[in-house]
């Protein structure tokens, strides 16, 4: 059974007929060609499919595309990244916080929410926050460094 949905994806209005059972990440990848969000475990454990829906991160493999009708979806491919996402992307590059990059899209989305909602987070809290996003090659040290650097820069800018 198909469902008609209207939503905004990375700032672009999208209107599609989707299978009611289709997951959001499959919709993004297969129907819209946005392959930046990845499918790892397909049951909400690895976090590779993390995307932002109405300023809240969700697991793309646990949310149906039909549920995002009327929502604003943002992925790491957005051509107009928020200041937090832009800073995180630069910091990930600066600290080499990725190797294969498979987890990076989801990791960035999780970190965006951290930066926006917990600007005073310390390293332990950063680790706790990204504990739902698995990275199997870089390790988390460089990722925590990158996020901590962004938080530090934000604090300095606020002074």
């Amino acid at each position: 059974m198909n469902t008609a949905i209207k939503l905004t994806v990375n700032g672009v209005a999208v209107q599609k007929q989707v299978d009611s059972r289709k997951h959001l990440v499959d919709f993004l990848r297969d129907d819209l060609g946005l392959t930046g969000s990845h499918l790892g475990c397909e049951h909400g454990v690895c976090g590779a499919c993390t995307v932002m829906v109405d300023n809240q991160i969700v697991r793309g493999c646990l949310v149906l595309a039909a549920q995002t009708d009327g929502c604003d979806v943002v992925t790491s491919e957005t051509p107009n990244p928020s200041p937090a996402l832009k800073a995180l992307q630069a910091a990930f590059i600066k600290f080499n916080a990725l190797q294969c990059g498979y987890c990076t899209s989801g990791m960035l989305m999780a970190c965006v929410e951290l930066v926006e909602h917990k600007p005073n987070a310390n390293r332990d809290e950063i680790r706790q926050w990204i504990s739902g996003n698995y990275c199997r090659c870089t390790g988390y040290h460089a990722i925590v460094d990158a996020v901590a650097d962004v938080l530090m820069d934000m604090k300095d800018a606020a002074k």
Binding site: V12, D31, T35, G36, E77, Q89, I93, N96, S105
Partner: protein, 145 residues
């Protein structure tokens, strides 16, 4: 017992490189910008023409040569055409086309096989390098939003 703390004379030894421009310095990664923007291309991002199902199989043992693959069981299950590339097996189920002659189908299959081979040689052997761009040009059918 041999730690520098226990051997004070070693503390005076100069580092191997006085100018540590290489040791401990991170080298900028090629293509990292692409990866943080979600534009990396991975095996499961590939959408090849008329591809229904694909299986990649590599040797479970390092440096081992695959000298044969038993596919009879797979043929029974369904795929009509199974294409092998080096150590990669690609199962392709060619969709049935209505009102097409057998000759046309043969031509399409030949074209498809040539295309797949090109992808295999140029794409799968490259990982995280700039050549992904050429791969994207050849096989990507990503609809642009």
């Amino acid at each position: 017992m041999n730690s520098p703390r226990d051997l004070p004379s070693q503390a005076k030894v100069a580092p191997i490189l006085a100018d540590q421009i290489h040791i401990g310095a991170a080298i900028p990664r090629q293509g990292i910008q692409r990866l943080v923007q979600g534009r990396g291309q991975y095996i499961d991002d590939l959408q090849m023409p008329r591809l229904v199902h694909v299986v990649y199989w590599r040797s479970p043992v390092a440096h081992a040569k695959i000298i044969g693959i038993e596919i009879e069981a797979a043929r029974v299950i369904g795929p009509k055409d199974i294409v092998f590339f080096n150590q990669i097996i690609i199962e392709m189920k060619i969709l049935e086309m209505d009102s097409k002659t057998e000759l046309d189908k043969k031509k399409r299959d030949e074209h498809s096989a040539r295309h797949e081979k090109k992808v295999s040689e140029n794409g799968f052997e490259e990982r995280n390098s700039g050549r992904h761009h050429s791969l994207a040009k050849k096989v990507s059918l990503r609809p642009y939003l």
